[in-house]
């Protein structure tokens, strides 16, 4: 038998190399390359941008009815105002508390730091809705802090704030660590030898160089906070921000308020984000003076305190909420016969595994399709293939859907595609494509920006076709940022609930199912077990993926 197998693999290899050779040849043709660019733009406009907006825009006339109802108008504006205030506080808090932790991870050399480093990513693999439920348990319903006299708070603004902080914090830390590692320590050494204390050095040298990373963090956490729906509803209590209001009006069958609030939110956030991009870079941090207090802040005792509090904030406000639900149910899971039932594929667990499969298929397709279409897009943006104006416009537009409340996006998509009668599977896929597209584009853009253009030029004049240069130079050199983009897209898709719920009532991804379980009476243990299994699966998948990827790179393919 092995002989047959080897023959088979040899045959497969041959076919594979023939495909590669064919693609190499094709990529030489300008018409092919330009049609690829063209296709990626069509995909972006036709699948991502227009459906997300048009569904809403088509109902624009109905939105006007909100204006004539003063009560509704007041509620709408109060929700919008809450959203903007919340998002602003969250993004500032993220950067202020995330920077010290990023600093510790990037600059300090303690051995246990690698543990903290990998723990930072952990909350990303928890479905946001589960994080919401977990937050609710931790701070309101089953708080373990009752032993120190804290009896929990009632759901409201504070719980929403804690939730949003928890899910946006890991991404901010990741961005800042990456940027900090890019800034060579030599500048800091130079500043220190010129007589600046460490705090002054950070303020005058490192933070100004970190500005692009800080702005990116602000934008991302702002946008995430503005658009998150599913988990927010869970912890909101009577607090009402934009997405909660939209969800409530959809549940009540009211389209006009949803269209109205979504539109105002989109316009608002585009203005804020554009302002942040334009003026953020011009903002100067004062650097002429050195303040006396800075020397005191640079004393080792103080910096240790700062590092310690950064880690404590992370552990208690981010990490603990992420795993509290599983932790708090651990004893129940272990004491019941549940663990055995999980793999029996019966009753509820059958539905569970089907939904896991659904999630992974959708996640895989979403990632794959996005890679195929965002790469040419990123090339157009970074290498200015169609001129500077086109590049800048596409770059700005491609991140628009990041700020749409995911429920509103879902509703818009179902309004747009609903009439065409496409299946729920396709609808969910389309929704996930729209939601993850901006993340993928911005990752691809940064991948290409980090590759020195002379490496590509060298590859081309040595005789490599564009496709060969891409797969054996660009991809291996940028593999880590590429990998993180893929992981981000995949996990985002698996964890998505708001838009998925809005486009389909029947097609269940695992996150949607878990939300149902959490809400259903008497399923609390199962919900905990299901979440735990999903988290374990994600970890295993990540490890496998990382292994294949690192093994695959290196040689000349």
């Amino acid at each position: 038998m092995p002989a047959v197998e080897t023959r088979k693999t040899i045959g497969l290899k041959k076919v594979w190399s023939r495909i590669i050779a064919r693609l190499d040849k094709l990529s030489e043709k300008k018409t092919v390359v330009y049609s690829l660019y063209f296709a990626s733009i069509i995909f972006f406009l036709g699948i991502i941008l227009l459906p997300s907006l048009l569904g809403i825009l088509l109902k624009l006339d109905t939105a006007m009815s909100v204006l004539s109802d003063p009560e509704l108008l007041k509620r709408s504006f109060s929700a919008i105002f809450s959203s903007v205030i919340l998002a602003s506080i969250v993004s500032v808090l993220d950067v202020v508390t995330g920077l010290p932790l990023a600093w510790v991870i990037a600059r300090k050399k303690y051995r246990w730091l690698s543990i903290v480093d990998s723990l930072v990513d952990f909350p990303l693999i928890v479905p946001t809705v589960i994080l919401g439920y977990s937050t609710l348990l931790l701070w309101c319903e089953e708080t373990p802090f009752s032993i120190i006299g804290f009896n929990g708070i009632s759901p409201g603004f504070i719980t929403v704030l804690l939730l949003h902080f928890a899910f946006s914090y890991p991404v901010v830390v990741r961005i800042l660590v990456g940027k900090l590692l890019d800034i060579e320590a030599t500048y800091e050494v130079a500043a220190r030898t010129l007589g600046a204390c460490s705090f002054t050095t950070a303020r005058t040298i490192t933070i100004p160089m970190l500005k692009s990373g800080i702005i990116a963090s602000l934008i991302l956490s702002f946008a995430r906070s503005l658009s998150e729906t599913g988990a927010t509803i869970m912890v909101a209590g009577s607090f009402e921000n934009g997405p909660v209001f939209i969800k409530k009006s959809i549940d009540a069958g009211l389209v006009p308020p949803m269209v109205f609030v979504s539109l105002v939110l989109i316009v608002f956030s585009i203005l804020i984000l554009a302002g942040l991009r334009l003026f953020g870079f011009k903002l100067k941090i004062p650097f002429r003076k050195s303040y006396r207090i800075e020397a005191a802040l640079s004393v080792e005792r103080v910096t240790r305190l700062r590092d310690a509090s950064a880690i404590i904030i992370f552990l208690f406000l981010v990490f603990l909420p992420a795993c509290f639900m599983v932790l708090s149910r651990m004893h129940l899971m272990l004491s019941s016969s549940l663990l055995g039932e999980i793999f029996t594929l019966q009753g509820a667990w059958f539905t569970y595994w089907v939904s896991v499969l659904n999630s992974y298929v959708i996640g895989f397709l979403t990632t794959l399709i996005n890679i195929v279409f965002t790469l040419p897009m990123a090339t157009i943006i970074v290498r200015r293939k169609l001129g500077g104006l086109v590049s800048r416009t596409l770059e700005a537009l491609s991140t628009t859907s990041i700020i749409m409340p995911s429920v509103a996006l879902g509703v818009s998509l179902s309004l747009f595609w609903g009439t065409t009668g496409v299946s729920d599977f396709i609808l969910v896929l389309l929704a996930h494509l729209c939601i993850t597209y901006p993340y993928m584009v911005s990752t691809m853009v940064s991948v290409l920006e980090d590759i020195p253009v002379e490496l590509e030029e060298a590859g081309r004049t040595l005789g490599g076709t564009p496709f060969k240069v891409f797969r054996s130079i660009v991809l291996p050199v940028a593999k880590y940022s590429f990998l993180s983009g893929v992981i981000l897209t995949f996990t985002r898709s698996v964890n998505e609930t708001g838009a998925t719920l809005a486009v389909s009532k029947t097609f269940k991804t695992v996150s949607v199912l878990l939300v149902e379980w959490v809400k259903a009476p008497g399923m609390k243990v199962e919900a905990g077990a299901g979440t735990m299994v999903l988290m374990l699966l994600s970890i295993i998948l990540l490890v496998i993926f990382r292994y294949i990827y690192t093994k695959g790179g290196g040689g000349v393919a």
């Binding site: 030489e28 002379e454 490496l455 030029e457 060298a458 081309r460 004049t461 040595l462 005789g463 564009p466």
Partner: protein, 364 residues
């Protein structure tokens, strides 16, 4: 037979004109050096030949085939970047194999070729090292090996020695010239270092502001500069402004601003009373027995020669390079008065530039 022809090639980047109607022909097996200040369009010219930049207008021919608009990988012309652009994730031999598999070599042929080129650049023991493990000079040779392995006969080098220290630069310069000759390569080498260009080139192409100022064998460019810029950028010259006082056949007399006069040879283009600029190589000025008198202001000992700065009346400065043999024989005391003379055949006369002499030279 890689013969390269450029016809009326122009390129603009936004409002900046990088190349302005360049016409150029490079013969097979010729080693050309493109010399010019920063921003003169050298690299753009090289990238246009390589196919990495498309010209706005004009045509490029390689081997008589029009290649304008064809992709870089089909031109059989390798471009070597200033910082070598070695692929950081590949070893030296994998870097070399890249170009070979791209050109359809079988694995076995590729291996043979790798050891062959590594032999040429003397990097055999470093085949499995990653670029970051190599010194600057070795990286340079590895990049060169990668270019040579492709079998391309047209080599486009962008400041290939720029990142090396002075001693290594001399060594690699000899190496380059040996390899180019042995393999009969057509090389276009961009540099802003005149000594590099003078020593390596069969043909020197001097560029400025997107135009070719002068092209020819290095000796010709050096001894017969066709413009003030040529005289300024290649070699070391002084410039004297004055008025033509007499014309006698080819012999003319130029009266300098301080009233002193020098003799020169000219073609017919100068008339009495006309303004002119004389360019003289610093090593062509003789100390002793001439029409000019000045006092010695500065002495700079530079190893194989010495640089003397004389001040003449009305603030006129003349710099003279004298050989070491003469410098150690005589006494050059600062403040002493010296006679200076300039052989008339060593004076190059030019029309005064529209921007003024200072404008012409300082605009570089």
């Amino acid at each position: 037979m890689p013969k390269v022809v450029l016809e009326k090639v122009s390129k603009k980047f936004g409002r900046i004109t990088a190349l302005n109607e360049i016409n150029l022909m490079l013969e097979d097996g010729e080693y050309s050096c493109i010399l010019g200040p920063t921003g003169s369009g050298k690299t753009t010219l090289l990238k246009i030949i390589a196919g990495l930049v498309e010209p706005d207008s004009g045509d490029v021919y390689i081997d008589g085939r029009r290649v304008t608009g064809t992709p870089a990988e089909t031109r059989n012309a390798v471009y070597m970047h200033q910082n070598y652009a070695l692929f950081p994730h590949l070893t030296v031999s994998q870097n070399i194999i890249f170009g070979l598999t791209a050109r359809g070599f079988s694995e076995e042929d590729a291996r043979r070729k790798v050891s062959e080129v590594l032999e040429i650049v003397r990097l055999r023991e470093w085949a499995d090292a990653y670029p970051r493990e190599l010194s600057g000079g070795m990286q340079q040779r590895a990049a060169l090996a990668r270019c040579l392995a492709t079998g391309a006969r047209l080599l486009l080098l962008d400041e290939p020695l720029g990142a090396l220290d002075a001693r290594l630069r001399l060594e690699v310069r000899r190496e380059l010239s040996r390899i180019a000759e042995e393999l009969n390569l057509t090389v276009v080498h961009v540099t802003h270092d005149q000594s590099e260009a003078l020593s390596l080139a069969d043909r020197l192409i001097l560029m400025r502001n997107g135009k070719i100022v002068q092209a020819g064998p290095p000796e010709e460019v050096y001894f017969k500069p066709n413009s003030i810029f040529s005289a300024y950028f290649v070699g070391e010259s002084i410039f004297l402004e004055g008025i033509i006082r007499s014309v006698n056949g080819r012999n003319v007399t130029l009266e300098l601003k301080n009233g002193m006069a020098i003799e020169a040879l000219s073609d017919d283009s100068f008339n009495m009373g006309e303004l002119a600029v004389a360019a003289v190589r610093c090593e062509d000025i003789e100390v002793g027995g001439g029409p000019l008198t000045g006092s010695l202001k500065e002495v700079n000992f530079l190893g194989s020669f010495a640089k003397l700065v004389f001040e003449l009346p009305r603030g006129l400065k003349i710099i003279v390079n004298i050989p070491l043999s003469r410098f150690i024989k005589e006494e050059f005391r600062i403040g002493a008065s010296f006679q200076l003379s300039i052989p008339r055949e060593k004076v190059h006369l030019f029309k005064p530039p529209s921007k003024g002499l200072a404008g012409e030279i300082e605009a570089v």
